[in-house]
Amino acid sequence: MSIYVNPFYARASEQHQDAHQFVSTFGAGALDMLPEATWDRLVLLRSSPGAGKTSLMRLFTPENLRWTLERMRQEPVYRQLIELGAIEPDRPLKLGVLIDLDRDYRSLLDLPMPAESARRLFLRLLDVRILVGALRSALTLAGGSFPRDIERVALASTSPDARVDALVERLGGPSAIGILNYAQDTERAILRLLDALLAVDVDAIPEGHNELYALDLLAGSRFEVDGEPLNVQPLLMFDDGHRLEREQRDTLLGELRRRRPTVARWYSERFEALSDQELLSDVGDEGRDVALVDLDSIARSGSADGRRFARGRYDRVLTDVARRRAAPLLAVYAQEHQEFLDLLEDDRDRCLADPSSVLPVLEDRAVGAAAGDDRYKTWIEDARTRAGFEAAVRWRELEVLVLRDQHRQQDLFGEELTDEDLADRSSSALREGAAVAVANEFKLPYYFGASTVVRLGSHNADQFLNLCGDLFAEMLVDISLGRSPRLDVSRQHRVLHRASERLWESIPRTVPNGRDVQVMVREIVAIAHAENAKPRMPYPPGITGTALLMSERQTLLDPQYRAKHPGADRLFAALASAVAHNILQADLDYSVKGNRYMVLYLNRLLCPRFGLPLGLGGFKERRLSEMVNWMQKLPAQGARRRSTDAREQLAL
């Protein structure tokens, strides 16, 4: 076991209560992913797993707001929380209550009772957990401990509406101890029902609630601690809504959409590519009633107005998080004060150890393609002025550009092409495609440098931090040998390639329908390799995805279609699983050439394993029938029948 802590790997063991660790490593810029109006309407956060939904919500829990106020006043997170209206210089303004929906709610549907009773029981269990969470938060905000100091808290009605008083009484109030007792009785009765192993232990099913009473109760009352009002707005944050059954989700969202400006309501769920999740018609009008925050989309393209969260800012947020995590340990272990990502060398020329074995080959090919035509003389002379990896890329690019030019209708007089022509026809995408091609052809390191690590993170905080962990582990080797923890391009490439290989290998073990997911990935890679190998490089920097017409996506959603077409069910399951587990990134309603597509890009971390570029943009659409056929291809492993008959092997 290493004596050094890897701050990226160790985040799994950081305690949820550790406000210091959490707030000091939080990337404050992520707060701008939230809309400005967050306190008076339902905020629906949606993203792929690992994008940071839970972390975003956790920042608003009382212990973290308090820590920010007490210890982080010089940090950006303090200013951002002030701007957002979550705190004032002397106190928190919100009472954050994080409610984990990854609990036993789904189990309620297995109890022997009508659906309506199950719905009511769901609301009652949720009610008591909201209230217990609110009590815990109120005490934490006041510096108390739950449940030890429970008698210090009370819930006082502030509403003239007699219904609120009745609700307070019904739920055991106004004393907190009464509410807690009601909650304990409810939880114990329901959980006993769920856990009964003997039929004789199945008690009578408790009465449920008609609606989410806790919302009205919190809207019409206030917490008092030691007789003093807290004067904070309750902020209910429901996490992991995708863990609920669909009808439970709809019930909860139906309750949350009702306007109660005095109770802020946030709800998070995982993005699903193959459901009608995106339909908000039952929840309310986006903007007035609901603010939909698509974290994946904002991370990739910035906020809709382009100002609040500019495109590309998410990369800086990630870089900031990495710096915050690594800096203290780099200083202690290696007296290293350079930033973590700056320790990753990114001089491309260093990857070309022996230019003489690469450049002449590429030059010969480009010059050969030009076939002595003077039209390309200036371009070729320009390339000869370059050196190192830049020259390699330019020769490869030139080869493509010459072939493209020859394919086009040539100028009648075959005029010599100029530097301006070259600049016009070149592009960063083409240069990236050329660089990947050179790296693949000559087995050169390609995946290295801070910006590459960020791109390999695939706009996913968890994945990015795991990659940082792999690189930090490599740095620890140097640190333990007393060397400077700088990683050259080859070592970075090796570490990142290994991470890519690990992701690929882990798919069957970690992703439901993993073998089928691998089949899909292989097919997309096959498309990519076929297209990217074309001499004129038609889709620079290269294909890394496929697409399905939105109309065909709708067809795939239809259970009757899936029942009729062998393989369709497996495609449906594999596709849903791949997107839910971040193996594929889905963009819905992508418009191109008058059609609308669901575009499916490979997770960027899979690209090194298959020698693909990291730039997004290149995809080749496929028909649904073809994708269904992919599933008919048997998985490479586990496809073989066992060799003997069951009866035969029973003969001991």
Partner: protein
Amino acid sequence: MNNRWDEYVMASDSSTLPPEAVWDAAAAAGCDLATMYVLGVGFDPRSLVGLQRFLASDHRVSPVIGVVELPPPSQASGLSARALAIDNQSAFEALVGGHEVRRIPHEDVHSRANAGPRVARALTAPEFVSGIGALLIDISSLPASLYFPMVAASLSAADRGLPGFPQEIQVIACENPEIDAAIEKLGVSDAAIVGGFRGSLEHESDPTGTVIWAPVLGERAGPALQAIHNLLAPGDVCPVLPFPARNPRRGDELVLEHQVVLFDEFRVNPASIIYADERNPFDLYRTLSRLQDDFRHALAELEPATVVLSTHTSKLLSLGVLLAAFEHRLPIVAAPAIDYELADVDLTALGSSNALTCVWLGGTPYS
């Protein structure tokens, strides 16, 4: 500290006491009533090994077979697993011809945790066990989410003297490390509490206090360990390694396999590692009983502590987890594989390593 199974009866092919001897003894203690052999028939090549041996032995009263119907392997399972499940099912029907068979039908559930309690309630229902004097539960082909609640329910029913419920309770497992190695786990479910083993977990209104997690380690358990760690966010982790073991290096190999997860991610203190005899579930049971007792007493003055168990290893060792959890009301959490596939191996050859073990958990030896 006295534990319920400090003294125990265990028979196995590798000991001088074969399983048939304790089956006979249980039948004799069963007051001239029939013995019921309960099993599940899935894809596992060891599904029917115990049943075949049981039916081949002499019975004064014709035995009854109880079968827990399992869902067929999904389309995402390997073809070999799907084919084996079908073959095992037809072999089972052939084996039990002429015997009374009582069935617990499979029912789809919304939550995996509810499947086990459902089956447990069906197993302990008076009509299911009527006329039965001894209950033998073969867990070789049953998932932990089912056999943990089944065994716990049977012990509870016997302890509470439910009318007509048999007092003699035995559990049978067919072990074969080579077959274990040939079974590839595909996908990992979300971590969840095993039905009936919630303990004090997920009672939001009754804080659990510090969670101490004791996972019994096995090969290829990394994804499950991470899923459970995410669910529990434990204050401390005490991994259990098999030692002594048939392969004396197995513990070291497990540490090597899981070193990043254990030491870099979970920050396990090497002093927290626990060892238990791979071939004796009662050794693990005693170890875990002592562990929970130590933590309970050590932290009593500070805050409540909950020891949570999970098992990622063989059926036999998992029994130790079950017994400790049952006696001390400890929560068990699992993140099982979703599908399975079998490597291309010669099962006939591997079958020669099958070894039956039978533990007698309730009834005559303890009265």
